[in-house]
Symmetry: D3
């Protein structure tokens, strides 16, 4: 059996370390305070109630704290819930770190970093290459650790870099099949399209939206960044406006966040590849959790569909 | 009777100077070439056909050329068309200029310029005031001559400045009625909200969209401009992001071109005042052309409605 | 600190009189009955549970009963809930009245009444003035006490009159800025536009919808009322149909309840001013509850947006 | 071969009387005036051009004038057009009347009138019966001659009465199949539902919309009429509000003109029967014009569908 | 008072047999397991909690088990809930059967079967008649027992046959009123239109969707079945394609599940009759539960409307 | 300069063979008949008028006739039109064939046929392979010549096979990048997804819709075909239903023609690859006609967008 809370079934006994993602105080019908905890490890999340919580409990069991738990997986309103038998904060001697409890891309950061470097070497248009190189240098640290989104797809450590590298792989093959495509432009668009998320999202672990992220959104912020970077590098030429267009239009439609729809071939292809990779990332992870003959849970970002894994699939 | 082609009725004789806005060559059913002209003066436009056009005619009757015409207003497919009796290019001795044939704001440029200056003096927040002052200085020339749009509302010389000054007048009264409003922020938003049109539109007289205007649109371009200007002026602080938000959200909804809807009180009010002034500009000009008891033509930008002028209105 | 339940924070001790707005019986998991109470004072509402409720409790703690409570504000499912320590019905000697516990317009009824009178004096068109005067006379009592809506905006005692007076103030300024507007028609439309709510809504304190309100709605009912009143006053002339049109179209679109959209200039302006005043009423009240740097709760009637109060606002 | 312009094919010679429905003056490319005529008989319409029209022609060939024509059916831009060989105004001695050239209901007016009387006798609820009787009396003349609409369905003389009588026949059978239905209420709703069209439409022959029809629409006008009639007859009781609801909601949805959707069983059934009869009227008339194995023209009011007549239908 | 759980009010004592429709295990806040039961009899359903459930309870109280209960109807979160005093599994000696606890069509199966036979005898087109006869023979058993849907309308035993027979009754009358209708085609379409549900739905009692039902839906499955049956019966001719079209288009619009909308008169009428019968079935059953002057609960399949029963209706 | 009518500019002289695609008779304003011809060669289409057409002309110049023309490209209402100087029907001795005048896929039929065979050899699942092999055998002839659509994308001879082969190439690379994909299922879905068009479309050269195509559409027809083929080959197993699902869902949404959306991973990917290849086919062909710095015409099937070719593209 696969280990970790993401693979636990109703009735399983639990004896492991987990990270507190969220903790909220409530008052039970007997008038006593309790804590609602959201706990996670690298494989998933589960809710838990800590009944009769003391003031000390409230002070200790806070977000980003690692805890050692024993208990049993039960069910509450059709959803798994951990029934806690014992719980204590982790000690330095336990040898556990926050980074052990967060999901990570299935490809190593170092590999992702090397692949990004390779892509730059493949590019021939000097303007586009300089632009991309400058951004990778500026955001190197964050680019290799940020998720690609707060939820839905690639929502794990290094998710953004994983998404980029995966999209470039599709783009490379598409450029071979359709030689009319401007490969350099497509690569540049893919690498820059979501970099605005480094300002829109609050961080790597408990990711939320920043105030400027809510007021402006990652797309207009990145369009602006490209303008500022071009001025800094003293780059002129239509490549700058075209790159801004690729970023601006990559959600495909105004109602999806792109005030201008794709009006350049590579902008349209960037939008399609983005959708393709995001959807496959979601589908593969959801189908990985079910057996042949079963349906996944409804997936909000897939128009609320539940997907079926055929019987003739190898499980 | 009011003078000018915008007030002419079917059957009227015409003997005046007009500006060629557009000229297209065609071939008639008798095999002979003809020119389709769009002619305009300061009050409006009319179509005309120049039959049996010679090669010389083609060379002479081109856009932005002023001509002296005689003819009669007839009707073709339910639309007024000028039947040309005679036509010749204007001579220097005629003493006519292109600027005589374009529609202008009902308020003088000088007055608009003074009013903009007054507004700046009314502002108290130093960051917002510096920002606005810098943009007015940078774009002074264009700001005082550009239309506010290529069609629909304030689509005349100085239309943009007229729209701004008119919106500020509403904002001033709204701020008196609702003292919670931040007047400086609202003023700054109003002055900057459409400045991106100076890059989106091609010019003052025969206004079309630039390539960068089509690829990016005036809203994202102005968000970027604010960022560049803030860096240039070394301005920091939330005012910059908030001003960008006001510009970004002023169309109200993603499907209307604002990827982020208004999330700040003054952004919502800016959107409402913009709509109010644009709609009244369109309505007043359309209703000015009909008599009490009549309906206007259908107005595309007013959801294709035809408006009624009540019988008890003074005509 | 501002007083009243609308300003209470989690953990605050409560010792005050409140009005029961709603009371529902339930059965707890221990098999014993309890009461779910919705309590309010002039500043807001809060939920509370009365555990182990006796039959006498059920008889005493009913809607529109004032009670004296002590307790503490706690949290249940992310929402504030009052934990009751003690509760008793108010006595005559307590000197409290129902009207102390409902929210009221920030402007006094007497002032609102005077302002309505002033407006009538400003009107010059005798037909419109007679019509408006007759309606104000007919509904004087209710017009000065009803809310403008059951929820969302101006949902307090005298809310309707407050909304009208506030809209007229905007209309007065708009008429100065755009002299083409027929001020009398606009005033008449504003005063009558929502009077149908006096039949659509059940009353001032615990406002719900009447059966005829549900079957017809305030807009068609008011259109009919204008027709009946015109017959009664033996008024003829286009003013009647035009006034009916202003009322009929003031929601702007069929899907918002106006089967005919505005087709007269003042109808369009009435719709815009109605939206402007309703939105500012909602925004000002919601932003009044948050500090600079914070977002409001999501507002259903503002397309579910949460609004931000900038840091540079005075709190 | 069926006679009449509605059955004519390209190439057919024409020698008959027709009614001018519309006449517009134009100027041909040779500079000479011409008239565009829309001609009709009881079976349909056709366009025609009268070239080289004299001023006398303009004075004579006007709407509602009957003319004697010879010519040939030709084609212009894919649409039939009558090529006129000769044309003269009809003389009193020709013995033709306007009523010969308009389409009429397939059931005689006298029969329709009798059927309406029968329906009243079937009704048992005295309030509903009195109401219906009063309206039939008030509008007897117009009710028996008006079309049910300006276009699309039952758009012929007596179309409204034909539509009512046909709907009542369906309602009678539905009441037998579903005895829960209140037959009297359903009958009353059917008879009154479109009476507002008598004020919304300009008349029987060349039907357009009145100003009050455009500003208010037949639905709110009829809701008001019911209120006025009830006051006149001193009728009280829920029947009045319920009847108003049936009229108000009979278009089914706000975006189709009913600000309130059906909330009473008979209101829903009225809406469904109205749709059923209108659609069958359109379908039967369109399919009557095509042969088995063919498609009809696209029908705007049927979501632009073209309908197929199966091969195994008897033609 | 009507008997059965569908007619029970808050506070009623219960002492009767019921069928367990669903049973789910949960853990209470005291850490002890409980069962959430959905119980039903022929008149409706109710939720119940069985506290402190033993392992034996879990094994005994499972779906499709009949139980003998005593208890009281209480309220939980605004919804009726049965408070269980005692419960035991039914014994053979109790003389109760599962079929006693499911809702059935108000018309007897034998009558429905005879009516289907009569319909076939009414048909004259031999191709359509053979087709229909073959399908009735193939699915006789299921056709007489299946519901017409898993929820919303005719969701009871024999619901499908009841729906068909009721629709044919409407069709018969419509064919009399509109003789242009091809009665045989309409009958055939009605009988076949929902037969795909026999494969889409899992069965008669606890109805859910089959995997092939979810992947294909009853409409495409039935189109295929008609093709297979035609091949089997060696039937050729346009009737087959036309019948497939009627089935394919009977939901009326792509967004309602018909990729092709009705393009044949009888297809349109089939769609309208289907809607008419389904809506009346829902309305009659919902209104049967309320008194004059009351509104029904909101009905999801009726656009979430609550319907009103007028005061002048006999209760 | 590239040859062929698709590359001709206004003013070019024409002296070549062309195919008549459509011919309509009209009557000119001088009363004489003329023919409107749509002419095409392998590169595109152009309109032309043949004035003063004799009855012989009408008999000779009919669709699918090849003609020899001289003339000049002129402009009519902003669209190119061929001014005919001389025209005669082609003679056998001219050595021209219809197939010379239709657009063909850029890949040879023989190559496409070989590639289809290769794909079958790549497949490993015997059920899917047998199914695909049977269909390729059944439709070999048509499959290699039909267009993929009547207009928009791959609307040329062998367009369907070209589309399939191109989609499989993408699928092959996607399967390498995402090994979770079931390659055989994806290949089978791609090959079968549009085969219903062989019945929906009328033929290769002047492609229109068949009656069964209009009544059912290619998607339900192909779902049925798969069922019939499975029965013929006596294939059972979930592969059949899953293949039907892939075909049924490949348009992605009900409003685009798929009553069931993709619910299987490979169904989603099939939909995405179909869109990707169709869009690139349209974009590449439209952009091939414009120079760097220009926009294409508006493309209906690309949401009416006009695409821009950047200046830094090699033309």
């Amino acid at each position: 059996m696969k280990k970790g809370i993401g693979h636990a079934a109703i009735g399983d006994a639990i004896d492991s370390f987990m990270l507190i993602k969220d903790a909220t105080k409530g008052v039970a019908s007997n008038g006593k305070p309790f804590l609602t905890l959201i706990l996670r490890d690298a494989t998933g999340e589960i809710d838990a109630k800590l009944w009769d919580a003391t003031q000390e409990d409230e002070a200790v069991f806070v977000p980003e704290q690692i805890v050692k738990l024993t208990g049993e997986v039960s069910q509450f309103r059709g959803k798994a819930q951990l029934k806690i038998n014992s719980v204590r904060p982790a000690q330095p001697t336990d040898g556990v770190r926050v980074s052990d409890f967060v999901e990570k891309a299935p490809v190593d950061q170092k590999v992702l970093s090397e692949k990004l470097t390779e892509i730059i070497f493949e590019m021939e248009n000097p303007v586009l290459q300089r632009m991309v190189r400058a951004f990778i240098k500026k955001y190197q640290e964050a680019l290799l650790t940020y998720p690609a989104a707060a939820k839905n797809h690639h929502e794990y450590v290094s998710g953004l870099a994983h998404h980029i590298v995966s999209m470039v792989a599709i783009a490379r093959e598409m450029s071979n099949l359709y030689p009319e495509l401007n490969k350099d432009l497509l690569y540049a668009g893919i690498i820059l399209h979501d970099l605005g998320k480094l300002k829109e999202l609050s961080g790597v672990v408990t990711t939320s939206y920043t105030v400027e992220g809510k007021l402006l959104g990652h797309i207009p912020m990145m369009v602006e960044e490209i303008g500022l970077m071009a001025r800094e590098l003293q780059i002129e030429g239509e490549e700058v406006r075209v790159l801004q267009h690729l970023v601006l239009s990559h959600h495909g439609k105004p109602e999806w966040g792109s005030p201008t729809p794709p009006l350049i071939r590579e902008a349209e292809v960037l939008h399609l590849i983005d959708m393709m990779d995001a959807k496959l990332n979601m589908l593969n992870r959801a189908l990985d959790k079910v057996k042949p003959g079963e349906f996944t849970e409804r997936m909000f970002a897939m128009d609320n569909r539940a997907f079926y894994k055929p019987m003739f699939e190898e499980s």
